[in-house]
C-alpha cells in the first residue's frame, strides 16, 4: 500500500520543482531586460558604452537629469499620464457596462456583437491615420489630449469589454438575486455585491487600458503636434541620440507604468478572506 503513495509524492514534488524552474525562467526573461535598462539609465555615458557590462548601477543621475531637463520631456510625460488616465476611465466606463450586458442579458445579435467588437482591432492604425486626421481637424479635436484618448480608448475597448464580460460571467447570478431579495435595487445590487467581487479584475482591465495608451506611439505621433505624449516625443528626439540617452528614455517610459502597477497591485492579488498584500 505504501509504495504507490510514495511514488505519487515523488511525482508531485518533481512537478512542483519543474513549476518552480519554469516560473524562475519566466521571471528572469521579464526582469533581465528591465534590470539592464535601469542599470544603464543610472550609469555614465562611458559605463554604458564599456564592455563587459556592469551589474551594479553607478547611481549616476546625469543622463536622467539631462533628459528630464530637456525642453518638452516633462510636459510630454504629464501628457502621457493624462491621456492614459482618460483612456482608462473611458474604456472601463464604456467597456464594463457592455461586458455586464453581455454576461447577464440575452439579446439578438449577441454573438455578432462580440465578434464585431474585436474587428476594431482588425484595421491597422496606419490605414486609419489619414481619414482620422482629416476628421479630427474638421471636428477641432486634433492635437488635444481628449482626442488622442478617444483613439486609445478605441484600441483598449475590445479588451475591456471581453475581460469584463468574462469577469461578470464569473460572478454567480444567485448572488445578485440574493441581494434583490434582501432589499437591493438592481443598481444597489451591482454596487454592493457585483462590483466589489469584480474589483480585482476591473483593476487588471484598467491597467491594461493604461498600458495600451501609455505604449501607443503611432496615433500620438500623427495626431499630435504641440501636445505629444512621451512615447511620441522620445521617438522623435531619441532616434538620433546616443545610447545612454536612449536607456534613460527607456527607463522614463517603463518606470511610471511599473510604479502605477505596483500601487494598485493589491487589487490584482486580492483574495477574499486572506489579507491583501
Amino acid at each position: 500500500m505504501s509504495t504507490p503513495l510514495i511514488t505519487i509524492d515523488v511525482a508531485q514534488r518533481r512537478l512542483r520543482r519543474l513549476l518552480l524552474v519554469g516560473a524562475a525562467i519566466a521571471t528572469v526573461w521579464v526582469l533581465l531586460p528591465i534590470y539592464f535598462l535601469v542599470v544603464n539609465a543610472w550609469s555614465s555615458q562611458e559605463a554604458v558604452n564599456a564592455f563587459p557590462k556592469a551589474f551594479v548601477p553607478e547611481m549616476n543621475h546625469e543622463s536622467l537629469s539631462f533628459l528630464l531637463g530637456f525642453d518638452g520631456v516633462l510636459t510630454s510625460l504629464v501628457n502621457s499620464l493624462i491621456v492614459a488616465a482618460i483612456t482608462m476611465v473611458f474604456s472601463i466606463g464604456l467597456g464594463a457596462p457592455a461586458g455586464y450586458a453581455l454576461a447577464r442579458y440575452e439579446f439578438r445579435g449577441k454573438g455578432t456583437f462580440r465578434l464585431l467588437i474585436l474587428l476594431t482591432r482588425a484595421f491597422p492604425l496606419p490605414l486609419l491615420a489619414l481619414p482620422l486626421t482629416v476628421l479630427y481637424i474638421r471636428l477641432g479635436v486634433d492635437d488635444t489630449l481628449v482626442g488622442l484618448a478617444l483613439v486609445h480608448t478605441m484600441l483598449a475597448l475590445p479588451f475591456a469589454v471581453l475581460i469584463t464580460f468574462s469577469l461578470f460571467s464569473g460572478v454567480p447570478t444567485e448572488l445578485e438575486e440574493a441581494a434583490w431579495v434582501f432589499g437591493c435595487t438592481k443598481v444597489q445590487a451591482f454596487r454592493r455585491v457585483v462590483l466589489p467581487i469584480a474589483l480585482p479584475g476591473l483593476a487588471a482591465s484598467a491597467i491594461f487600458a493604461f498600458v495600451i495608451s501609455w505604449n501607443e506611439v503611432f496615433a500620438s505621433s500623427v495626431l499630435m503636434i504641440q501636445n505629444r505624449t512621451l512615447t511620441a516625443f522620445l521617438l522623435q528626439n531619441l532616434d538620433v541620440s546616443p545610447m545612454h540617452m536612449k536607456f534613460a528614455g527607456g527607463a522614463l517610459l517603463v518606470l511610471p507604468a511599473a510604479t502605477f502597477m505596483f500601487l494598485i497591485r493589491k487589487h490584482l492579488f486580492a483574495m477574499w478572506g486572506i489579507s491583501n498584500r
Binding site: 454567480p172 440574493a178 435595487t185
Partner: protein, 233 residues
C-alpha cells in the same frame, strides 16, 4: 398573518411549459414542502413567489396582499438559495446583517440582532470569517441566518441540502425544524422527499408543471402512488 395563496400560476420558457395553472396555499406558520422530479417546475415556482421570475398569468398573495406586481426587494420575503449565495466579499457578520443594512438601521440595532440570530444558527464564533473559510453546512447556516434577520413573512428554501453529505444533511434539517418552531411560514423545495415529508406539515408533489398530490407529510409517505414515483417503492 403570513399565509401564501398562489392562484393559477402559469409560466412558459419558449415552447416549454414550466408551470401549468398551479394553485397552492400555505397557512400561517405552516411548513410546506414542494416535491417533484428535477425540471418539474418547483424552483421556478419559488422564483416566481420571490420575484426573480414573472409568471405569464396567475396571482401570488402573501398575507392577503397581492405581491406579484412588486419588485423582489419590496416583497419582504426571505430565501435560502440552492448554493446559499453567501456574499464572498463580506464577513459572516455582514452577510447576516445585509438585509438590515439595506434598511439603514442604526449600528446598535444591527449588532444586537446579528448576535441574536448568530446564536440561533450557531455561528457566534465565526462572525469574522469569510465564506471561503466556512464549510458547506456553515454556509447554509449563514444563508438561513441572513434570511431570518429581516423578520420575513415567509421563508423559502431552494434545495437547501443539495450536494451535502448525509451527516450534514441531518444537521441542516434539524436546524430547519428549529426555525419552523419560531412560528414562521416555510416553503421548501427539496429532493430528499422522504426526510422532507417527515419534518414538514404538508407536501405538494408537482409532476411536469402541474400539481399531482397534496396531503400531509404522513399521508403522502403512505400513498402507494407517491411511494412508487418518488420514494423508490
Amino acid at each position: 398573518m403570513a399565509n401564501i395563496a398562489i392562484q393559477n400560476v402559469t409560466k412558459s420558457f419558449g415552447s416549454y411549459d414550466a408551470l401549468k395553472g398551479i394553485g397552492l396555499a400555505v397557512a400561517d406558520q405552516e411548513f410546506l414542502v414542494l416535491l417533484g422530479a428535477s425540471g418539474c417546475g418547483k424552483s421556478t415556482l419559488l422564483r416566481i413567489i420571490a420575484g426573480l421570475e414573472t409568471a405569464d398569468i396567475g396571482e401570488v398573495h402573501v398575507g392577503g396582499e397581492r405581491i406579484d406586481q412588486l419588485q423582489a426587494k419590496d416583497r419582504r420575503l426571505a430565501m435560502v438559495f440552492q448554493n446559499y449565495a453567501v456574499f464572498p466579499h463580506l464577513t459572516v457578520f455582514e452577510n447576516i446583517a445585509f438585509g438590515l443594512r439595506m434598511q439603514k438601521r442604526p449600528q446598535e440595532i444591527v449588532s444586537a440582532k446579528v448576535n441574536q440570530v448568530a446564536r440561533m444558527v450557531h455561528l457566534e464564533a465565526l462572525l469574522d470569517r469569510y465564506s471561503g473559510q466556512l464549510s458547506g453546512g456553515q454556509r447554509q447556516q449563514v444563508a438561513v441566518g441572513r434570511a431570518l434577520m429581516t423578520q420575513p413573512k415567509v421563508l423559502m428554501l431552494d434545495e437547501p441540502t443539495a450536494g451535502v453529505s448525509p451527516i450534514v444533511m441531518d444537521e441542516l434539517f434539524d436546524r430547519i425544524i428549529e426555525v419552523a418552531r419560531t412560528g414562521i411560514s416555510i416553503l421548501m423545495v427539496e429532493q430528499n422527499a422522504r426526510q422532507a415529508l417527515e419534518i414538514a406539515d404538508r407536501g405538494y408533489v408537482l409532476v411536469q408543471g402541474a400539481n399531482r398530490f397534496t396531503d400531509t407529510g404522513a399521508a403522502l409517505l403512505a400513498d402507494p402512488d407517491v411511494r412508487k414515483s418518488f420514494l423508490g417503492g
